[in-house]
């Protein structure tokens, strides 16, 4: 259980996290979603006591992180892959980390096996690929068998097998009743892994709901129609609550009418249809809609016409 109350972090003039209040509950995978610079990483760093909140507070399992007598057994965190001395071997890194809590070599070997690092455990971390670094970070997070796991972009740099493994691992750990918080800017990944999503935009919590709600709420269902007589069809469909946009000369995106109705209108007027598809909103669209005004770093599109 992670509880944030009006959590705020300012760096000079810039507000990285702005009065964020949210609760991450056990038994679920909770996703922290947001564009770059939205405050996800800063929030995670404040949860584990690395950054001091400017105001507000965040508690883990009922206590401030620093109050725990065995922090590694309470919270395991993977913040960034490079939180490891590059000159030390993976094995020695985990051994030194565990030693603080009296965790011995047996558990170290166990997490090395669990994350598939057996072959490279004796090698210096400096030579690790991004994926191996992530695995080692996950191994370190699991070392204390913690009740709460915090993972910042855990699948970054992992191969497809590793991605599947992380997804399975997180779901499994959540099913054991643990609290799982992971961040990502990949909406598709969140849709597959998370049960609940907290969306951040410019440091503020702009949505906090189950995945299904976010998709349902933010996305509009529309129908894509392709017809050589598109213009006439558009005229026939015109109504106050119907929105017709033309994607290209012969293709229409219609919102507010079902595909069946459109098909009926076309048939009764003798119009030819080449395509008639219901387009359901994705988490990605919902997310883009939610964060449209909250993106800190806007990109200039190279070919504006292509962007919907």
């Amino acid at each position: 259980m992670i509880e944030a109350q009006s959590l705020t972090k300012r760096y000079g003039q810039r507000t990285a996290v702005d009065a964020a209040t949210f609760t991450v509950r056990p038994g679920k995978v909770t996703g922290l979603l947001g564009p770059n610079g939205a405050g996800k990483s800063t929030t995670m760093r404040m949860i584990v006591g690395l950054d001091r909140p400017t105001s507000g507070s965040v508690r883990v399992n009922g206590h401030f992180y620093a109050e725990h007598s065995a922090p590694l057994h309470e919270v395991g965190a993977l913040l960034d892959a490079k939180a490891i001395h590059s000159g030390r071997s993976a094995y020695n890194h985990l051994l030194a980390l565990g030693a603080t809590h009296g965790i011995g070599a047996a558990r170290v070997r166990e997490v090395i096996d669990l994350t598939g690092l057996q072959a490279v455990a004796g090698k210096r971390v400096g030579g690790f690929s991004l994926g191996m670094g992530q695995r080692l970070g996950i191994a370190a997070a699991l070392l204390g068998d913690p009740q709460t796991l915090i993972l910042d972009e855990p699948i970054n740099g992992l191969d497809p097998e590793g991605v599947l493994w992380v997804r399975g691992l997180l779901k499994h750990l959540a099913s054991e009743g643990r609290t799982i918080l992971l961040s990502s800017h990949l909406m598709s990944e969140m849709a597959m892994t998370a049960d609940h999503i907290i969306v951040f935009g410019r440091g503020r919590v702009i949505a906090d709901a189950p995945v299904a709600d976010i998709v349902g709420q933010g996305a509009v269902t529309s129908v894509r129609v392709s017809s050589p007589q598109a213009a006439e069809l558009a005229r026939l469909l015109a109504a106050p609550d119907v929105q017709v946009t033309s994607a290209s000369g012969s293709t229409l995106d219609v919102a507010g009418v079902s595909a069946a109705t459109i098909g009926g209108v076309a048939a009764s007027n003798g119009l030819v249809l080449h395509e008639l598809t219901t387009v359901t909103g994705s988490l990605e669209e919902a997310y883009l809609r939610l964060t449209a005004d909250e993106v800190e770093y806007h990109t200039q599109s190279v070919t504006p016409e292509v962007v919907r």
Partner: protein
């Protein structure tokens, strides 16, 4: 990548429920593992032993007997000088290592792992300082004693009187090893406050090499006094008799320098975002 174990293994049977939690001995053990698992440690300590013994041997080979019969004190002084001559060089190695021990954690991001495991942070600094101090003391003492053991027969062969390994000699050897420990701890404090390897090394070597020269060049009496209180100068009174300070005074001066660097470093470490 090799096969991955089943997630079910995540829950461990290897964590002893009775032994859960942070402990001082655990943090000390952790810092010892960290120190011994880096190549820079072994390189630095090897260089110290090699350089100390090498310089002592070179010096012993070129030493000729005094014109007059030396006093017992002169014989002891000569043995101390020769056995600890390398300290002037190894202090630079120790200063660099002292900075690296902490700045290496900041430059690689390791410090975040360390602070997540020990969120109160200060035990990390304390354990690091203690482990580094003990290791430095042992290695330095070994280097000095080996220098003595190797050079005495050479000196005897040159017709120079060799001092027996008596308590006063041991005291000087402890003093010289202690001097290196103090230099290491001052550098550790500088490294922890600056959090940067190049900055920390520049500052600690500057304190040892550049700052004394500057004060010696200033033609004022106060400048000479300041120069004598600097760690690199005052510290030599720990093992050379007849220097500015008595050994116990030098000890206090060096403890003062350690406090002046480590205490602000500790305050900053506690306050700053990692």
């Amino acid at each position: 990548m090799s096969t991955l174990a089943q997630p079910a293994l995540a829950r461990s049977s290897h964590i002893d429920a009775s032994n859960r939690g942070l402990s001082a001995t655990g943090i000390l053990r952790s810092e010892w593992i960290k120190l011994r698992s880096l190549r820079s440690t072994w390189w630095s300590f090897s260089i110290i032993v090699l350089i100390q013994v090498g310089i002592a041997v070179l010096f012993a080979l070129t030493t000729s007997p005094m014109a007059t019969e030396p006093t017992t004190q002169q014989v002891t002084q000569a043995a101390v000088s020769i056995s600890t001559l390398g300290v002037l060089f190894s202090q630079l190695v120790i200063a660099v290592l002292g900075v690296l021990v902490i700045s290496g954690e900041y430059s690689t991001g390791q410090i975040r792992s360390s602070f997540m495991a020990v969120p109160n942070r200060l035990p990390v600094l304390a354990a690091k300082a203690l482990v580094f101090a003990v290791a430095t003391f042992v290695v330095s003492l070994v280097a000095i004693v080996v220098s003595y053991v190797v050079t005495m027969p050479i000196l005897a062969g040159n017709g120079v009187d060799a001092a027996p390994l008596e308590p006063s000699l041991w005291l000087s050897f402890f003093g010289a090893a202690g001097y290196l420990v103090f230099i290491g701890l001052i550098s550790l404090g500088i490294g922890a406050a600056l959090r940067s390897t190049p900055g920390g090394i520049a500052a600690s070597l500057g304190l040892l090499l550049v700052v004394p020269t500057i004060f010696q060049l200033i033609p004022a009496e106060w400048a000479g006094v300041v120069a004598s209180w600097l760690p690199g100068t005052a510290g030599q009174s720990l093992y050379y008799t007849g220097s500015t300070f008595e050994p116990w005074q030098a000890l206090l001066v060096m403890l003062g320098w350690v406090a002046v660097t480590l205490i602000p470093a500790a305050v900053l470490m506690k306050r700053r975002d990692a």
